[in-house]
């Protein structure tokens, strides 16, 4: 379960040493590139760059397979929708639906876009501790006039951090609940509506109780939402500045 979602892999590579803000901004720049490109050649180039980065950071490829795996049904669904519902050159029949060559290309590009988004996000989270990411986002949000909305960049960063913490926790709770209900005779296939009710109601109750307990624990450990410091000192070095310039050039070439 340790590798369910975008977990951190400690190391001393150049990506590990980069300022979290550079990596967050880099992920944003790469995401813009991924959403813009629609050719297999550039996708292949991205795959090569990704592989080089993974090898350079001494990260196991299996870690990234695990990050993408939970989303595979979603990617398959997107691919099939495009394949079967896009007009174009006929490839094969699937009952009343027809697979087309254009649908195949579009579905592949769309699925690859999502896969690359997950992979690059996983690369960032694998080389940045969660607290580093939170600090980085908090500092990036600081110039925004959030105080007029009654919130602070600290609050937003903490909310994001807690959300990331709760996703796998809820997944664990869901699994425990499902096993408990099945052991008491629930047949999910035969009674799907009953199954949804018997799983969601206790899950929501557990989630609310967990939120209450975590809030109490935060309060007990002196959290007030103001005046926090961070274990991580954020500092731009020459490589960070060089990469920031590179992102700008890359986006300029792509969009202008």
């Amino acid at each position: 379960m340790n590798d369910l979602f975008l977990s951190f892999v400690p190391g001393k590579s150049f990506l590990h040493r980069l300022d979290p803000r550079t990596k967050v901004l880099g992920l944003m720049a790469v995401s813009f590139c991924i959403l813009k490109v629609s050719s297999f050649e550039i996708m292949a180039l991205m795959a090569i760059i990704f592989a080089i980065l993974v090898i350079a950071c001494h990260l196991p490829f299996l870690h990234f397979v695990r990050s993408v795996r939970p989303m595979l049904p979603f990617f398959t669904f997107i691919f099939l929708m495009q394949l079967l519902f896009t007009e174009g050159t006929h490839l094969f029949d699937f009952g009343l639906l027809k697979g087309t060559y254009e649908g195949f290309l579009l579905g592949s590009i769309l699925a690859l876009r999502f896969i690359f988004l997950i992979l690059f996000a996983a690369l960032i989270t694998a080389t940045t501790s969660p607290s580093g990411i939170t600090s980085g986002i908090e500092r990036l949000l600081r110039p925004l006039p959030l105080k007029y909305l009654g919130i602070s960049s600290h609050d937003l960063a903490m909310m994001m951090s807690l959300s990331l913490y709760f996703v796998p926790m809820l997944f664990d709770s869901f699994r425990d609940l499902r096993d408990a209900q099945i052991s008491r005779g629930l047949d999910i296939r035969k009674e799907p509506v009953k199954a949804i009710m018997s799983l969601t109601v206790p899950l929501v109750r557990m989630a609310l109780r967990s939120v209450d307990e975590v809030a109490l624990a935060m309060e007990s450990r002196c959290y007030t939402g103001e005046g926090r410091s961070s274990m991580y000192v954020l500092e731009f070095r020459s490589l960070d500045y060089a990469l920031l310039v590179f992102y700008c050039v890359l986006l300029f070439l792509l969009y202008i």
Binding site: E219, R221, C222
Partner: protein, 271 residues
């Protein structure tokens, strides 16, 4: 260090949880609070930590009143709390992040936070798990991380709320040994439990029932009363065994052995 005077607390539904509690805890003391489930032990601890405001009476921690919101952060730093279920108190996605959460809230500089995190993890023997996800650890390891999380705030008092109740016997021994080490180093310990055999090492035992203190004194004397059936507690098997061995004249001891170690020592003396 802690002065509780006529403390009463009612839940929002009007039911009484604590009724006129008066208790003083001295600096460096190891006070165990015992009682059956629902007797108000955890509610009392939450008052000391400033998580609950008293309905009546007062709780003073190091001359700071818990009912004054200005004092709360300093009170929580001074008297930190370890909860029963470690899983419910994790905030960070890695052990390191979670342990750093407290000192980050105290606005300490980065170097000091790193120093405290390393020291705390080392003192509970969890340095090797620094980058692990807390929820993937075993129950005992989770409770050690929870303890490290409060140690980083360098509290003068640590409030333990039934911290061993969800652990196996080996993990329980580990945690109790860490707590004893902290007490020997001068930390004031307030230890809540419903397990009688864990009370022997305390300097003082406070027994609670239905929100009131019914006994407050020497743990050995109170446990001896408990073992004779007073207060409705069942004596733990180790005390039952000691009583039978002493009663049968097999062990000749000036006092009733109350723990496994004490019984073992008494048996070894037979040689």
């Amino acid at each position: 260090m802690i002065k509780i005077k006529n403390l009463s607390y009612q839940y929002p539904d009007g039911s009484s949880a604590l009724d006129s509690i008066t208790l003083n805890i001295r600096k460096g003391e190891f006070v165990a609070i015992a009682g059956k489930n629902g007797c108000g032990k955890s509610t009392l601890l939450r008052h000391i930590n400033g998580l609950l405001p008293p309905t009546e009476g007062s709780v003073i921690v190091k001359r700071m009143d818990t009912s004054d919101p200005i004092n709360l952060q300093e009170i929580r730093r001074t008297a930190a709390m370890v909860f029963q279920d470690p899983q419910s108190q994790f905030i960070g996605m890695t052990v390191e992040d979670d342990v750093a959460f407290g000192p980050e809230n105290l606005s300490l500089p980065s170097a000091e936070i790193k120093r405290r995190v390393s020291t705390a993890l080392e003192s509970v023997g969890m340095s090797g798990y620094r980058y692990n996800t807390p929820r993937t650890l075993s129950g005992g390891q989770k409770q050690k991380v929870a303890l490290a999380s409060v140690l980083t705030m360098e509290p003068e008092v640590i409030l333990f709320d039934e911290v061993t109740s969800m652990l196996d016997s080996n993990s329980r021994v580990d945690i109790l040994s860490l707590i004893r080490q902290l007490h020997e180093a001068g930390t004031t310990i307030v230890y809540v439990t419903h397990l009688i055999e864990e009370l022997v090492h305390a300097d003082r035992l406070v027994l609670m029932e239905k929100g009131c203190i019914i006994q407050n004194g020497n743990p050995r004397e109170i446990i001896s009363k408990i073992s004779s059936g007073s207060f409705g507690f069942d004596a733990p098997p180790i005390i039952e065994l000691s009583k039978k061995l002493v009663g049968a004249g097999i062990i000749k001891s000036s006092f009733l052995p109350l723990s496994k170690d004490e019984l073992l020592e008494a048996i070894c003396r037979l040689k």
